[in-house]
Symmetry: C2
Subunit: 234 residues, 2 copies
């Protein structure tokens, strides 16, 4: 054939996000060998024969963090295959976004010793940081998460089984990097049909009135949407 197809390995790279200390954090590993030895990178690994992409994502999530990808939110973001993006050769990367509740610490696992949570902020994303093109991948995954908070119940994936409205608000504030009015937020969230349902339980904060506990409802889309402030005009 005059124009033979290129041949690729396909890697899955995971942007695993959580909220720690009210700040957005991403799980990174320190690369042990070249290329980019010693540099932080998104965890990931190669698709094996007979595996679908989602399977690889679940497996890598488990191997790198001990997290169970079948119970976590996990979604494909996009694919990167620019020539030269991986010095080792033709490697396409399929990026996945994963959302985890606040965890004690990266759990034991094959590669967990090299893993750590790192805070993410717009400042850090503006400067070169991660190995390969992982800065771009992280930025794209984060933008996906930011957008999906608006019209999907994704924010609940950052929370445990039950959560308070205040915790849910902390998720929105950390991911969007904005301050939201607690009073309006409360009304908005509880007014969206199927977003959260009260459990009847309460939880006492360190100080202050106990907050009602909620669990995730069955809505897959939010209506009305939780629109980001500032997306509008000046």
């Amino acid at each position: 054939m005059r124009n033979p197809p290129a041949v690729f390995s396909i890697a899955i790279d995971l942007a695993i996000l959580t909220i720690r200390d009210d700040r957005l954090a991403v799980l990174l590993i320190e690369r042990g060998k070249p290329p980019f030895a010693g540099r932080p990178a998104l965890p990931g690994g190669f698709v094996r024969p007979g595996e679908d992409l989602d399977d690889t994502a679940v497996r890598e999530l488990s191997e790198e963090t001990g997290l169970d990808g079948r119970t976590l939110h996990l979604e494909q973001v996009r694919t990167y295959a620019a020539p030269g993006r991986d010095p080792r050769g033709a490697v396409a990367s399929v990026a996945y976004l994963a959302i985890a509740p606040d965890l004690p610490v990266p759990v034991a696992g094959t590669d967990a010793a090299r893993a750590r949570w790192e805070p993410v902020d717009d400042d850090r994303l503006g400067r070169p940081w991660l190995a390969f093109d992982h800065d771009t991948i992280l930025a794209d995954a984060l933008e996906r998460a930011r957008a999906k908070l608006e019209y999907s119940p994704l924010a609940t994936a950052f929370c445990g089984e039950t959560f308070t409205i205040g915790e849910l608000r902390a998720v929105y504030e950390a991911v969007w990097q904005v301050r939201l009015d607690p009073r309006n937020f409360h009304r908005k969230v509880t007014g969206v049909d199927g977003f959260v349902v009260p459990t009847g339980e309460r939880r006492s904060p360190p100080t202050g009135r106990p907050a009602a506990l909620y669990r995730r409802g069955d809505a897959s889309m939010l209506y009305p949407a939780m629109l980001r402030p500032g997306t509008g005009r000046p």
Copy 2:
């Protein structure tokens, strides 16, 4: 290595959408050889060595339709790599969504003889239709287009350089498969900052008052958004 990476060819498959006779249409080719010989399929082809995914998409678009991908809207949707999705072996497919103005007919090109526009409706998408997993790919690409009409000026990509508000409304109606109130639509569209700008010209329809012509503005996001009706509650 105990778990060697799988090796893939990567294909680009294009969901090229346009509006013809006020109906949404997709460009399909008839497959000439097995697998799926004689079945309709999305146009596409393999990534070549040294090519980035976007480059392949632009090249294939040109080869199959004569369209210039550099002037058209073209965006990656997602990647499919389920084992067995291509009987020929390990082929991953990166789906692209392309939007074209109404064209006379698929233009001459390498494979253009096999290409044709086919109307798309929800009815047809419900039944098996295309080769490979292209039904799924088309459905995902279409949903992407439907969603982006809400918050981006994507609809203008279906129109020529200049267009009337009525033509723009026809785009929304065809893609969303709904009827929109012409009067409210007019006000909404012209009220969105940077969506459309008047050229000062007019165009006479077969019958009726001449409509003002507009061209695309410089907004990249719409505010307020053009929300789909019916997404809400009953």
